[in-house]
Every structure is written in C-alpha cells, then in structure tokens.
C-alpha cells in the first residue's frame, strides 16, 4: 500500500505496537471521544466563519466601493464586527481543543506528537496572522483609504484558507499516516513535508474549505432570507441575502463534484470506512447503492437499493469489485455502521438540496435578472444554513467514526491513545454545559447586535465595541501623537 511505502513502517510493526500497548481497558474511550467530538463539532462551525466569512465581507465591501453602494458598505461594516466576535469565540474553543489533544489523547501525542505537530504549528501561525489582520481590518475602517482597506482584508481570506489547510492536514494524516519511521514502537525519523502532504490531504482539505464556504454562505444568507420573508425587502436585505447566497451557491456544485471524487479515494484508501458508508458487508461485484436504511444482523431495513449503482460509482462499471468490511477481522471494523451510513446519506442529500436551491436561483437570475423572493424559495433558504451545518457535522461523523477503532489508521488504536487519568466523565459533563452556554453566546451576541442596529440610533452603532476593534471613546486613536496624513 502506498502509505506504507511512504511512511516506511510495516503493518507488523503497527500490530506489534498495538498489541504491546494493550494495558488499559480504556474505560475512558467513550467519554473522551464524546468530549472531543462535541468540542470539535462546536468549534468547526465557528472555524467555518474564520475561514470563509472574510470572503463574504470583502465581496460586500468590493461592491460598496466599486458602485458607491452605501447598503453594501454598511453590510460589510456590520459583518466585520460579527466576524470579530465569532473569531474571538473561535479562539477560545480552539485553545480548549489544543488542551484536549493532550488531556484526552496523551497516547497519541506522546508517540506521534513529533509527526502530527508540524501541521498544527503551521495552523498556529496562520491563526495568529488571521487574528492580527482581523484587528487591522477593523481598525482600518475610516483610517485607510477605501481600496487600501479592501486589500488589508485580503490576508484574512488567505490565512483563513491556509490555516484550514494546515489543521485539516493533521486530520488527514490520521486517516492516511505518512512521513515517519517507527522502530520498536518509537518514532525515530520524521519527514514533516510528507506528514503535511499525505495522500488524503488534497481531498480532505478541499472538501473542508468548500464546506466552510457553504456553511458560512448559507447561514448568513439564511438570516437575510428571514428578513426578506418578514417583508424587509430593501436593498440592504436583498444584498445581505444575495452576496453570501452566491458564494455558497458557487461552492455547492464544486462540493458535489469533489464529494464524488473523494468517495472514490476513500474506497481505495480506507476501504473499510467506505464499506461502512455504503453498507458493503461482503467484498463483491454488482454492489447496490443503499439510500437510507438501518443495518441489523446482515439485513438492511427501511432502505431503498439502486442495483449495482455503488459499483458504478466506484469504478464506472457494474462489475467493479467493492471491498466489504469482511476484509478485516471484526475487531478492526468500525462500530455503528448505521450511524455512519445515515450520516453519509444525510450529507449527500443536503449537498444536493443546496445545489438545487442554488440552481433554482441561478435559473431565475439567468432569465429574469432578479432575485427570487417567493416564500417557496425563501423558506428553504432560511433553513439552508442549518442544513449546511448538519451536512458538515454528518461528514465529520462519517470520517471520524468511520476510522474506528483506529485513531491513526492501521497504526494506533483509540484505546491505546486515550488518557488513563480519572475524571474524563466529569470534564465531559462540564464541557457539555459550557459549550451549550458558548453556543448561546455565539448565536445570541450577533442577534443582540442586529437588534440594536435595527432599533438603535446611528450614534449607538458608532460607539459599539467589538473584540479586536478600536475602543469607542477613540482613546486608542488619540493616545499617540497626531500624525499628518
């Protein structure tokens, strides 16, 4: 296998390592996985805004400058404030995640920290830069000439994408480990470049970056779809809907194509995960494609099968042989195949739903040059953001649960990576409560802000204080010596 050649380690060594470490009954595995899953599942939504929000803001600003459009400009200003709040909350939840890497998975970090750490280091730098330029962008309003200010926001877009690339590269390394040598279970040689650019990196990173653009685009568009539905049909709300919807709508078809390519890659790179995604119990030809369905004792209930279609999707021919989960012993198969399969179906289904919405508006725009504002279109649009989030979460469930029981595919078992310390159930409980509050914060703060924008006076808006932004009293601006410009 390719990864083995690249990694320079052998399967025997991996199994030896896995066997020699089986000291702990790993009672912590389930609570630790739950804690990691919930905090990651929360953070990833904020991360989407960190990655993609800047592009939405800058499109609005571009229209604002180019056409002298005050509504677009106002949108850009307000969005930049919301972006700052979300980046700040994301900084908090991201910090907690780096803690959890060690608190929950010392067995992974102690053994493979030297390999997986490099992409994380890159991510740290890119996030730092992103946060600095969010500050530059916020301070730059009214302090820089319009186009100079527009360009000062460009680094947020670039570093956002590079940061996503780095951190997802770390995850793809866990799916497709490469760039290291093990001897006697100890890491002796690391090739950071091969770690970063492992076989799965190009697929996973593209998938996630497109997903981020879809989540951010459709969620923001959804807010303004609600406004349009309530009868606020001014230019401000139309643009507020059209700009993010267009960005999400461009990402949607690319994502559907990319998803198809990635599924084929998984079929060859992680066949057992693919088998769980598609209910392939036995390695065979003419494999049907299951839509929905619950897998119980070798039978699929409540599912619809398209004959031979899975084989066609994998190899463009009904005779393509698809590897089933019978290819590995039961102990190496992922649990909860039904969850994996249904999550996969949900993700794909929502992907097509969002594609259809984008196509509908695209069609209307092509023939009528007008925004579609019927409730038939706007109600699904209002829900599109939530749907995009659900699709992304489902996708992470597929890739993470589908990799089980491995934390590093075919190299390290989850049960050997989990912490032996007591108290994981307690921290899980506390984290769940805190993240529920944090969710309220990240939804509540922008909502309160928008209510103030609608009801407050212009002066109130002028003195609004946001993270990374200038202080309202203008003290920051007047503290220094006056500078001639």
């Amino acid at each position: 296998m390719r990864t083995e050649a690249d990694g320079g380690y052998s399967m025997e060594a991996a199994h030896m390592l896995a066997a020699s470490l089986a000291v702990n009954p790993a009672v912590n595995a389930v609570p630790a996985r739950s804690q990691m899953g919930s905090s990651l599942g929360f953070h990833i939504i904020l991360a989407c805004f960190g990655i993609a929000f800047a592009a939405v803001v800058m499109t609005a600003e571009w229209i604002g400058i180019k056409r002298g459009d005050a509504a677009a400009m106002l949108l850009a200003r307000r969005w930049s404030k919301v972006m700052a709040v979300l980046v700040a909350v994301g900084a908090v939840s991201g910090t907690v995640l780096s803690y959890e890497m060690g608190l929950l998975w010392p067995g992974l970090m102690g053994r493979f920290g030297a390999a997986i750490g490099f992409p994380f280091s890159m991510e740290g730098i890119f996030f730092f830069l992103e946060a600095i330029f969010v500050g530059v962008y916020l301070y730059g309003w009214q302090r820089l000439p319009p186009w100079a200010h527009w360009w000062s926001g460009m680094p947020i877009v670039v570093f956002g994408i590079l940061g996503a690339l780095s951190v997802v590269a770390a995850n793809s390394w866990m799916n497709s480990p490469a760039g290291f040598t093990l001897s006697h279970g100890k890491l002796t040689r690391v090739d950071p470049v091969s770690v970063f650019f492992n076989a799965a990196t190009p697929y996973e990173t593209t998938h996630m970056i497109l997903a981020a653009y879809m989540v951010a685009g459709f969620l923001i568009a959804g807010v303004y779809a609600v406004g349009l539905l309530r009868g606020r049909r001014d230019r401000y709300h139309r643009l507020g809907f059209a700009i993010p919807f267009t960005i999400g709508g461009i990402a949607a078809p690319l994502q559907v194509i990319m998803g198809d390519i990635i599924a084929r890659f998984i079929a060859s790179n992680q066949p057992v995960k693919f088998a769980a995604m598609e209910y392939v119990a036995k390695t065979s030809r003419n494999v049907p494609e299951w839509l929905g369905g619950i897998f119980i004792n070798g039978k699929v209930y409540f599912g619809a099968a398209i004959p031979s279609f899975d084989s066609i999707l994998v190899g463009f021919s009904p005779h393509t042989r698809v590897i089933g989960w019978d290819s590995v012993p039961a102990s190496q198969r992922p649990p909860l195949v039904t969850l994996i399969h249904l999550s996969f179906d949900l993700m794909v289904g929502i992907g097509f739903f969002l594609l259809a919405l984008a196509a509908w508006q695209g069609w209307w725009w092509w023939f009528h040059r007008r925004l579609l504002v019927t409730p038939w279109f706007l109600v699904p649009c209002a829900l599109s953001g939530v749907a995009a989030v659900a699709a992304m979460e489902a996708g992470w469930v597929v890739t993470e649960v589908g990799r089980q029981p491995w934390i590093v595919y075919k190299v390290l078992l989850v049960s050997n990576a989990v912490t032996p310390s007591g108290g994981v159930t307690v921290t899980l409980g506390m984290m769940l409560v805190l993240y529920a509050i944090l969710t309220v914060v990240s939804i509540g703060v922008p909502m309160i802000m928008s209510r103030r924008w609608r009801r407050g006076t212009p002066a109130d808006e002028e003195t609004e204080q946001v993270p990374y932004g200038p202080s309202p009293s203008g003290a920051g601006a007047t503290a220094g010596r006056p500078r001639a410009r």
């Binding site: 690391v190 049909r233 699929v300 220094g480």
Partner: protein, 393 residues
C-alpha cells in the same frame, strides 16, 4: 548527556513563548482580577471601563501564545507533553475550563442589556481570571519540583497539591495582577485619567509587594522540594534573578515617587517578570522534568525540531510586520473623507426600497390541492417501498 543544539534552540523558543504568555496573557487575567475587586457597580464603574478598553482590542487573542506553548511542547517534546497532560489532568482541565468561562463572560458582558446580567457575566469573567492562572501555576510547580512521573498511569494528585505547587499557583495569580496593574497605570496615564492612575498605582504597589513576598516564599520552599532548580537559580541563573529583583524594586520606587513614564514603567515591570521565566528555564536546564527526563531524552527527531525552528522564523518574519501595521493604525487618526457608520446608515436608508418587484402571485387553491395530493401519494409510495425488508449483499 547534554542536548543537541537544535533541541536547546527549540527549548529556548519555548521559554520565550512562555514569557510572552506571562506578559500578555497574564495581563489579561490580571485585568479580570482587578475587575473582581473593583467594588460595587457604581464605585467600580470607571476602573472597569479602563480594564475593558485595554483588553477588548485583543480579546482572547493572547491565548495564541498558550496554543503555541502546547503545540511546541507536543511537537518538540512529545513524551513530556503526554506525561504532563496525564499526571496533571485535573489542574489543566480546570484551567481550560477557566478559559472557556472567561470567554463566555467577556462576550456577554458587552451585549448584555440588563445590569443583573452584566454583573453575573462580569463575575463569571472575573472568577475565571483567578482560576486559570492559579491552576496553571500549580501545574508549573509540579513540573519544577520533579513531581510529574515519567509514564504516569493516572492522575498525580500529590504532584500539584504540594506546598511548592500551591505557592506557585498563588504566585502566578499575584504576578498576573501585578503586571496588569502596571499596564493599567500606564494606560490611565496615557489617557490622562489622573485619578485612575493613582488608583492603579496603589494597587500595583500592593500587588508588587505581595508578588515579591510570594516569590521569596516559593524560592525558599524550592531549596527543599526542588534542589536542582534551586541550585540553578542560585548558580547559573543568579544574574537573571538579580535583574528581576532590581527591576521589581525599581518599579516600586517609580510608583513611590509618582514617576509614571508609560514606556519605562511597563518595560521595567515586564523585565521583572520575564527574567524570572528565563531564570527558571535556565535553572531547569538540561531537564524537562528535573532529575527524571532530560531535554535530550524527551526531544523529537531532528527533522521535526528543524521544522519547528523554520516555523518560528516564519512566524517572526510574518507576525512582526502584521503587528507593526496594526500598531501604526491604532496611532492613526480617522480619515474624514470616508463615511462613518452613521453616514452609511443614512445613505442606505435614503435609497428607496426597490420597487416593481411583483409579489409572487399566490398559487390557486386547485393547484395547491393537486400539489398536496401528489406529494402525499409519492410519500405513501416511498414509505411502502421502504418498509419492505431486503437482505444486504
């Protein structure tokens, strides 16, 4: 066995990043502590406002330093990271919890509209500012005293509850309050709030004295509990310790004579804190865990260390210009030719709502009924199809 040059270089960077977190993140925590003790809603309003204004621009971004510490530790010294995280699971979980609580409190207190809610979130923020540095301090104390075992099999409760560790926890809290009070003195001075300058000068003096006393106490405690580090601090780190003491006294003198030069005051206090961190790092050399795990034994393969050095170089190359740009913008006055938010609002509202959009004609009742019937029929067919169990191949 002395560590290789690249190991030493990465370890040095780690200590520098820890010092940066102490100076920047520490000041944030300290701000929360002063917020906590500022008194009732009315009395504490003005100091709270100043604290708010000096923290908000970098809201929680200073945790980036902490992320760098964690990432550097797990990348360059993986076994040490795994052992610390396992043995010190409890205090580190609590400090992470504090970080989340702080974020929640801080985000909400700006948007919370009712006073009660503001007070509640403010208290949350302030309490979390105490928890986080305290438990981080106990964790550092556990490492310094060599109480973190190599390959721990679970929590090491005794490691972080030893007198030295607890003292270190209190020292961290005091140091955060100290550094923050100094910054706030300088900040108030720059804004010409003379009353607040005096307010924080008094508190900075008190915090300075307490921090000094706690540092002395911890130092005395180390002689028994951490002989290696104690020997280092009184040996090769002695010049750094001396600088720290001198700087600390210099700050107190400046406060005593009311000489609040913003730059000199801040720099001297920063030196007092940073030299202690450097002194600790140098005293502990060449150990990650004194007497049980050396830097050489705990370090990652060479290629990883080189990669980390490259990343650090890249960081300096990219982050410094970014910071300079941000700083220059902060000093710059508002341009008059670009509109304010208020101008934009006026302009956007003046624009009439786009007319002529024909309201979508509602579908006729017959069409609606047909659609509903069709959908019901399809749904029933689908359900019927689905409920037929089949075998999976």
């Amino acid at each position: 066995m002395s560590p290789s040059a690249d190991t030493t270089a990465v370890a040095t960077i780690l200590v520098v990043v820890i010092a940066a977190y102490a100076l920047f993140g520490g000041a944030d925590f300290g701000g929360g502590i002063w917020d906590l003790v500022a008194g009732g809603a009315e009395r504490g309003a003005r100091p709270r406002e100043l604290i708010d204004e000096s923290i908000t621009p970098v809201w929680e971004a200073n945790h980036v330093w902490l992320v760098f510490i964690l990432v550097l530790l797990w990348t360059a010294f993986p076994p040490a990271f795994a052992d610390i995280m396992t043995a010190l699971f409890v205090p580190l979980s609590l400090s992470a919890l504090g970080i989340v609580l702080r974020g929640v409190g801080f985000a909400f207190r700006h948007t919370a509209e009712r006073l009660r809610m503001r007070q509640l979130t403010g208290a949350l923020f302030a309490a979390a500012s105490l928890i986080t540095p305290f438990f981080m301090g106990t964790a550092v104390g556990a490492v310094v005293t060599g109480q973190v075992p190599v390959h721990p099999t679970g929590n090491a409760l005794a490691a972080w509850t030893s007198p030295t560790a607890l003292l270190t926890g209190f020292l961290f809290v005091a140091a955060c309050a100290y550094i923050s009070a100094i910054y706030l003195v300088a900040e108030a001075r720059q804004r010409r709030h003379f009353e607040l300058t005096r307010y924080f000068a008094v508190r900075a003096t008190a915090a300075g004295v307490v921090t000094g006393a706690l540092a002395g106490g911890t130092f005395a405690e180390l002689s028994a509990s951490a002989p290696h580090v104690y020997a280092g601090l009184t040996g090769r780190s002695l010049p750094l310790v001396a600088i720290s003491i001198a700087a600390g006294i210099a700050v107190l003198v400046m406060l005593w004579v009311h000489w609040y030069h913003p730059v000199v005051l801040r720099a001297t206090a920063a030196i007092a804190v940073a030299t202690v961190v450097f002194g600790w790092g140098l005293a502990q050399y060449p150990y990650l865990f004194p007497d049980s795990l050396t830097l050489a034994a705990g370090s990652a393969p060479t290629a990883t260390l080189i990669a980390e050095l490259v990343v650090a170089g890249l960081a300096v190359l990219l982050v410094v210009p970014g910071f300079l740009l941000l700083y220059s913008l902060q000093q710059r006055h508002l341009l008059t030719e670009t509109g304010t938010d208020a101008d934009l609002r006026r302009a956007a509202r003046l624009e009439p709502a786009v007319p002529g959009e024909p309201a979508a004609a509602p579908a006729s009742p017959a069409a609606r009924l047909t659609t509903a019937l069709l959908l019901t029929f399809l749904a029933l067919r689908a359900i019927k199809e689905v409920f037929r169990p089949r075998s999976c191949r």
